[in-house]
Amino acid sequence: MDDLDHVNETGARFHQELVNGDHLAPSKIAELFLPLLARALHRKFHNISDSHLVDIAVADALLSYLTEPQKFDPGRGKLFTYLWIASQGDLLNRLQQERKHTSRKLDEKVVELPSYATVNRIQAEEDPEAILLLSEETLRVKEEVNAIITDEGDRAIVALMLDGIRETATYAEILGLKDRPFEEQTLLVKRTKDRIKVALRRGLERREPRP
Protein backbone atom coordinates (compact mmCIF):
# COMPACT_ATOMS: atom_id res chain seq x y z
CA MET A 1 0.00 0.00 0.00
CA ASP A 2 1.49 3.38 -0.97
CA ASP A 3 1.18 6.65 0.94
CA LEU A 4 -1.78 7.83 -1.08
CA ASP A 5 -3.74 4.65 -0.46
CA HIS A 6 -2.92 4.97 3.22
CA VAL A 7 -4.23 8.56 3.32
CA ASN A 8 -7.42 7.58 1.50
CA GLU A 9 -8.07 4.59 3.73
CA THR A 10 -7.37 6.56 6.88
CA GLY A 11 -9.55 9.40 5.60
CA ALA A 12 -12.46 7.01 4.98
CA ARG A 13 -12.13 5.66 8.52
CA PHE A 14 -11.99 9.13 10.07
CA HIS A 15 -15.00 10.22 8.04
CA GLN A 16 -17.02 7.35 9.46
CA GLU A 17 -15.89 8.30 12.97
CA LEU A 18 -16.95 11.90 12.35
CA VAL A 19 -20.38 10.85 11.14
CA ASN A 20 -20.70 8.65 14.23
CA GLY A 21 -20.10 11.69 16.46
CA ASP A 22 -16.57 10.86 17.60
CA HIS A 23 -15.14 13.83 19.51
CA LEU A 24 -11.59 13.30 18.25
CA ALA A 25 -12.50 12.85 14.58
CA PRO A 26 -12.47 16.54 13.50
CA SER A 27 -8.94 16.91 14.85
CA LYS A 28 -7.75 13.71 13.18
CA ILE A 29 -9.23 14.80 9.84
CA ALA A 30 -7.74 18.29 10.09
CA GLU A 31 -4.32 16.90 10.92
CA LEU A 32 -4.46 14.43 8.07
CA PHE A 33 -5.78 16.68 5.32
CA LEU A 34 -5.08 20.34 6.09
CA PRO A 35 -1.31 20.28 5.57
CA LEU A 36 -1.70 18.22 2.39
CA LEU A 37 -4.39 20.42 0.93
CA ALA A 38 -2.64 23.66 1.87
CA ARG A 39 0.67 22.53 0.43
CA ALA A 40 -0.83 21.20 -2.79
CA LEU A 41 -2.97 24.31 -3.32
CA HIS A 42 -0.10 26.66 -2.53
CA ARG A 43 1.96 24.85 -5.12
CA LYS A 44 -0.75 25.01 -7.75
CA PHE A 45 -1.56 28.68 -7.12
CA HIS A 46 1.98 29.76 -6.36
CA ASN A 47 1.73 32.98 -8.35
CA ILE A 48 -1.30 34.61 -6.74
CA SER A 49 -0.70 37.97 -5.09
CA ASP A 50 -2.15 37.06 -1.69
CA SER A 51 -1.11 33.53 -0.78
CA HIS A 52 -3.04 33.77 2.49
CA LEU A 53 -6.21 33.27 0.44
CA VAL A 54 -5.12 29.67 -0.09
CA ASP A 55 -5.09 28.95 3.65
CA ILE A 56 -8.43 30.66 4.11
CA ALA A 57 -9.95 28.60 1.29
CA VAL A 58 -8.63 25.34 2.73
CA ALA A 59 -9.86 26.23 6.23
CA ASP A 60 -13.31 27.17 4.92
CA ALA A 61 -13.59 23.99 2.89
CA LEU A 62 -12.75 21.87 5.90
CA LEU A 63 -15.10 23.84 8.13
CA SER A 64 -17.98 23.27 5.68
CA TYR A 65 -17.21 19.57 5.61
CA LEU A 66 -16.98 19.31 9.41
CA THR A 67 -20.29 21.13 9.73
CA GLU A 68 -22.09 18.87 7.27
CA PRO A 69 -20.09 15.68 6.76
CA GLN A 70 -23.17 13.89 5.43
CA LYS A 71 -22.82 15.83 2.19
CA PHE A 72 -19.74 13.79 1.35
CA ASP A 73 -20.70 10.48 -0.19
CA PRO A 74 -17.82 7.98 0.17
CA GLY A 75 -19.40 5.92 -2.60
CA ARG A 76 -18.71 8.68 -5.11
CA GLY A 77 -15.08 9.42 -4.42
CA LYS A 78 -12.31 9.96 -1.93
CA LEU A 79 -12.45 12.49 0.88
CA PHE A 80 -9.20 14.11 -0.19
CA THR A 81 -10.63 14.73 -3.65
CA TYR A 82 -13.84 16.13 -2.19
CA LEU A 83 -11.92 18.57 0.01
CA TRP A 84 -9.53 19.44 -2.78
CA ILE A 85 -12.39 20.40 -5.11
CA ALA A 86 -14.11 22.38 -2.35
CA SER A 87 -10.89 24.24 -1.45
CA GLN A 88 -10.04 25.00 -5.03
CA GLY A 89 -13.59 26.12 -5.80
CA ASP A 90 -13.55 28.39 -2.77
CA LEU A 91 -10.21 29.84 -3.76
CA LEU A 92 -11.30 30.50 -7.34
CA ASN A 93 -14.41 32.26 -6.06
CA ARG A 94 -12.32 34.41 -3.76
CA LEU A 95 -9.94 35.31 -6.55
CA GLN A 96 -12.86 36.22 -8.77
CA GLN A 97 -14.38 38.39 -6.04
CA GLU A 98 -11.07 40.04 -5.41
CA ARG A 99 -10.78 40.83 -9.09
CA LYS A 100 -14.22 42.37 -9.13
CA HIS A 101 -13.42 44.49 -6.09
CA THR A 102 -10.11 45.77 -7.25
CA SER A 103 -11.33 46.00 -10.86
CA ARG A 104 -7.89 45.51 -12.18
CA LYS A 105 -6.30 42.75 -14.13
CA LEU A 106 -4.32 40.41 -11.98
CA ASP A 107 -1.46 38.66 -13.57
CA GLU A 108 -1.84 35.31 -11.90
CA LYS A 109 -2.88 32.39 -13.94
CA VAL A 110 -6.19 30.99 -12.69
CA VAL A 111 -6.58 27.32 -13.24
CA GLU A 112 -9.94 26.03 -14.33
CA LEU A 113 -11.96 24.02 -11.85
CA PRO A 114 -11.77 20.41 -12.96
CA SER A 115 -14.89 18.46 -13.69
CA TYR A 116 -16.09 15.76 -11.36
CA ALA A 117 -15.07 13.24 -13.96
CA THR A 118 -11.42 14.04 -13.41
CA VAL A 119 -11.42 14.20 -9.64
CA ASN A 120 -9.92 10.83 -9.04
CA ARG A 121 -6.92 11.67 -11.15
CA ILE A 122 -6.23 14.89 -9.28
CA GLN A 123 -4.96 13.42 -6.09
CA ALA A 124 -2.43 11.18 -7.77
CA GLU A 125 -1.16 14.03 -9.93
CA GLU A 126 -1.00 16.68 -7.24
CA ASP A 127 0.21 15.07 -4.13
CA PRO A 128 2.85 12.41 -3.93
CA GLU A 129 5.46 14.86 -2.72
CA ALA A 130 3.20 16.45 -0.13
CA ILE A 131 2.29 13.09 1.28
CA LEU A 132 5.89 12.43 2.17
CA LEU A 133 5.68 15.48 4.41
CA LEU A 134 2.51 14.20 6.00
CA SER A 135 3.84 13.48 9.42
CA GLU A 136 6.12 16.46 9.84
CA GLU A 137 4.14 17.86 12.76
CA THR A 138 3.65 14.44 14.28
CA LEU A 139 7.38 13.88 14.19
CA ARG A 140 7.99 17.17 15.95
CA VAL A 141 5.65 16.18 18.79
CA LYS A 142 7.32 12.79 19.00
CA GLU A 143 10.74 14.41 19.30
CA GLU A 144 9.55 16.72 22.07
CA VAL A 145 7.92 13.86 23.95
CA ASN A 146 10.96 11.61 23.53
CA ALA A 147 13.18 14.31 25.01
CA ILE A 148 11.22 13.93 28.24
CA ILE A 149 9.96 10.34 28.19
CA THR A 150 12.97 8.09 27.83
CA ASP A 151 11.52 4.65 28.55
CA GLU A 152 10.69 2.76 25.33
CA GLY A 153 7.60 1.13 26.84
CA ASP A 154 6.25 4.51 27.95
CA ARG A 155 6.97 5.93 24.52
CA ALA A 156 4.91 3.15 22.96
CA ILE A 157 2.03 4.02 25.29
CA VAL A 158 2.31 7.72 24.36
CA ALA A 159 2.26 6.80 20.67
CA LEU A 160 -1.02 4.93 21.15
CA MET A 161 -2.54 7.82 23.09
CA LEU A 162 -1.57 10.31 20.40
CA ASP A 163 -3.16 8.03 17.81
CA GLY A 164 -6.42 8.25 19.72
CA ILE A 165 -6.42 4.53 20.56
CA ARG A 166 -9.00 3.86 23.28
CA GLU A 167 -9.08 0.09 23.72
CA THR A 168 -7.66 -0.99 27.05
CA ALA A 169 -6.60 -4.33 25.54
CA THR A 170 -4.13 -2.64 23.19
CA TYR A 171 -2.40 -0.92 26.09
CA ALA A 172 -2.62 -4.00 28.27
CA GLU A 173 -0.79 -6.02 25.66
CA ILE A 174 2.13 -3.59 25.56
CA LEU A 175 2.24 -3.49 29.33
CA GLY A 176 2.18 -7.29 29.57
CA LEU A 177 -1.16 -7.29 31.40
CA LYS A 178 -3.09 -9.45 28.95
CA ASP A 179 -3.70 -12.23 31.44
CA ARG A 180 -5.00 -10.00 34.23
CA PRO A 181 -8.73 -9.50 34.85
CA PHE A 182 -10.22 -6.68 32.77
CA GLU A 183 -10.89 -4.41 35.78
CA GLU A 184 -7.29 -4.72 36.85
CA GLN A 185 -6.08 -4.02 33.30
CA THR A 186 -8.23 -0.89 33.17
CA LEU A 187 -6.90 0.35 36.49
CA LEU A 188 -3.25 -0.32 35.66
CA VAL A 189 -3.50 1.14 32.18
CA LYS A 190 -5.05 4.31 33.58
CA ARG A 191 -2.34 4.56 36.23
CA THR A 192 0.34 4.20 33.60
CA LYS A 193 -1.20 6.87 31.39
CA ASP A 194 -1.57 9.24 34.33
CA ARG A 195 2.01 8.63 35.44
CA ILE A 196 3.31 9.38 31.95
CA LYS A 197 1.22 12.54 31.69
CA VAL A 198 2.52 13.78 35.04
CA ALA A 199 6.11 13.05 33.95
CA LEU A 200 5.50 14.90 30.70
CA ARG A 201 3.97 17.89 32.46
CA ARG A 202 6.86 18.09 34.91
CA GLY A 203 9.32 17.75 32.05
CA LEU A 204 7.64 20.62 30.21
CA GLU A 205 7.68 22.77 33.33
CA ARG A 206 11.39 22.10 33.82
CA ARG A 207 12.16 22.86 30.22
CA GLU A 208 13.81 26.19 29.57
CA PRO A 209 11.49 28.73 27.99
CA ARG A 210 11.81 29.07 24.25
CA PRO A 211 13.56 32.17 22.96
Partner: protein, 135 residues
Protein backbone atom coordinates in the same frame (compact mmCIF):
# COMPACT_ATOMS: atom_id res chain seq x y z
CA UNK B 1 -4.44 30.59 18.77
CA UNK B 2 -1.60 30.71 16.35
CA UNK B 3 1.56 28.72 16.01
CA UNK B 4 4.18 29.64 13.48
CA UNK B 5 5.33 26.07 12.98
CA UNK B 6 1.82 25.06 11.93
CA UNK B 7 0.31 25.44 8.48
CA UNK B 8 -1.57 28.74 8.40
CA UNK B 9 -4.69 26.89 7.30
CA UNK B 10 -4.83 25.16 10.70
CA UNK B 11 -4.77 28.51 12.51
CA UNK B 12 -7.50 29.77 10.19
CA UNK B 13 -9.65 26.75 10.97
CA UNK B 14 -9.13 27.13 14.73
CA UNK B 15 -10.05 30.82 14.42
CA UNK B 16 -13.36 29.87 12.82
CA UNK B 17 -14.09 27.12 15.36
CA UNK B 18 -13.66 29.62 18.22
CA UNK B 19 -17.15 30.84 17.40
CA UNK B 20 -18.66 27.37 17.37
CA UNK B 21 -19.81 26.21 20.85
CA UNK B 22 -19.60 22.57 19.75
CA UNK B 23 -15.81 22.74 19.58
CA UNK B 24 -13.04 22.87 22.14
CA UNK B 25 -11.65 25.92 20.30
CA UNK B 26 -14.68 27.79 21.64
CA UNK B 27 -14.06 26.52 25.18
CA UNK B 28 -10.38 27.46 25.06
CA UNK B 29 -11.13 30.93 23.66
CA UNK B 30 -13.62 31.62 26.48
CA UNK B 31 -11.18 30.18 29.03
CA UNK B 32 -8.45 32.47 27.72
CA UNK B 33 -10.79 35.47 28.04
CA UNK B 34 -11.82 34.50 31.56
CA UNK B 35 -8.32 33.78 32.80
CA UNK B 36 -6.39 36.33 30.75
CA UNK B 37 -4.25 33.65 29.09
CA UNK B 38 -2.74 34.64 25.74
CA UNK B 39 -2.13 32.31 22.81
CA UNK B 40 1.56 31.95 23.54
CA UNK B 41 0.93 30.79 27.12
CA UNK B 42 -2.07 28.58 26.48
CA UNK B 43 -0.18 25.30 26.09
CA UNK B 44 1.72 26.01 29.28
CA UNK B 45 -1.53 26.76 31.13
CA UNK B 46 -2.93 23.45 29.88
CA UNK B 47 0.25 21.58 30.79
CA UNK B 48 0.83 20.22 27.31
CA UNK B 49 2.73 20.90 24.08
CA UNK B 50 1.67 23.77 21.77
CA UNK B 51 0.87 21.32 18.95
CA UNK B 52 -1.38 19.34 21.29
CA UNK B 53 -3.19 22.49 22.48
CA UNK B 54 -4.12 23.13 18.84
CA UNK B 55 -5.10 19.49 18.47
CA UNK B 56 -7.41 19.93 21.47
CA UNK B 57 -9.00 23.03 19.92
CA UNK B 58 -9.93 20.97 16.85
CA UNK B 59 -11.85 18.37 18.89
CA UNK B 60 -15.55 18.47 19.62
CA UNK B 61 -16.55 19.58 23.11
CA UNK B 62 -17.99 16.92 25.41
CA UNK B 63 -21.41 17.77 26.77
CA UNK B 64 -21.14 18.51 30.52
CA UNK B 65 -24.66 17.21 31.04
CA UNK B 66 -24.15 13.86 29.34
CA UNK B 67 -23.64 10.64 31.27
CA UNK B 68 -20.43 9.86 29.40
CA UNK B 69 -18.84 13.26 30.07
CA UNK B 70 -16.04 11.79 32.19
CA UNK B 71 -15.23 9.17 29.55
CA UNK B 72 -15.14 11.72 26.75
CA UNK B 73 -12.91 14.03 28.80
CA UNK B 74 -10.55 11.14 29.53
CA UNK B 75 -10.32 10.36 25.82
CA UNK B 76 -9.57 13.99 25.00
CA UNK B 77 -7.02 14.19 27.81
CA UNK B 78 -5.24 11.05 26.60
CA UNK B 79 -5.26 12.29 23.00
CA UNK B 80 -3.62 15.56 24.03
CA UNK B 81 -1.51 14.18 26.90
CA UNK B 82 -3.32 16.44 29.34
CA UNK B 83 -4.43 16.00 32.93
CA UNK B 84 -8.09 15.01 32.72
CA UNK B 85 -9.11 16.88 35.87
CA UNK B 86 -7.60 20.11 34.53
CA UNK B 87 -9.47 19.61 31.26
CA UNK B 88 -12.77 18.74 32.95
CA UNK B 89 -12.50 21.84 35.16
CA UNK B 90 -11.90 24.11 32.18
CA UNK B 91 -14.91 22.73 30.30
CA UNK B 92 -17.13 22.99 33.38
CA UNK B 93 -15.92 26.51 34.20
CA UNK B 94 -16.67 27.78 30.69
CA UNK B 95 -20.05 25.99 30.55
CA UNK B 96 -21.09 27.35 33.96
CA UNK B 97 -20.20 30.93 33.11
CA UNK B 98 -21.97 30.62 29.77
CA UNK B 99 -25.08 29.28 31.52
CA UNK B 100 -24.94 32.14 34.03
CA UNK B 101 -24.61 34.71 31.31
CA UNK B 102 -27.52 33.18 29.38
CA UNK B 103 -29.63 33.20 32.55
CA UNK B 104 -28.78 36.87 33.20
CA UNK B 105 -29.75 37.80 29.65
CA UNK B 106 -33.07 36.02 30.09
CA UNK B 107 -33.70 37.85 33.36
CA UNK B 108 -32.96 41.20 31.75
CA UNK B 109 -35.29 40.42 28.84
CA UNK B 110 -38.00 39.25 31.22
CA UNK B 111 -37.63 42.41 33.34
CA UNK B 112 -37.84 44.54 30.21
CA UNK B 113 -41.01 42.74 29.14
CA UNK B 114 -42.54 43.26 32.62
CA UNK B 115 -41.88 46.98 32.29
CA UNK B 116 -43.58 46.93 28.92
CA UNK B 117 -40.47 47.84 26.98
CA UNK B 118 -40.74 46.94 23.34
CA UNK B 119 -38.52 43.99 22.53
CA UNK B 120 -36.29 43.77 19.50
CA UNK B 121 -38.22 43.70 16.28
CA UNK B 122 -38.67 40.22 15.00
CA UNK B 123 -37.49 39.48 11.56
CA UNK B 124 -39.08 36.90 9.35
CA UNK B 125 -37.36 33.50 9.35
CA UNK B 126 -34.51 33.19 6.90
CA UNK B 127 -35.06 31.07 3.88
CA UNK B 128 -33.93 27.56 4.53
CA UNK B 129 -33.24 26.27 1.07
CA UNK B 130 -30.81 28.77 -0.28
CA UNK B 131 -28.35 27.53 -2.87
CA UNK B 132 -25.17 26.26 -1.30
CA UNK B 133 -22.71 27.52 -3.86
CA UNK B 134 -20.68 30.58 -3.06
CA UNK B 135 -19.83 33.15 -5.66
Amino acid sequence: MTNLSFPLAVSELVKRLRENPDYMAYVLARYQEQEGVNDENLAEALGTLPHLAIRLALCRKPDTGSTDFATRVRELADYTLMDESVLANIIRQVSSLKALSTASERQLLSAARDRGDPGPERESSPETNKPEGKS
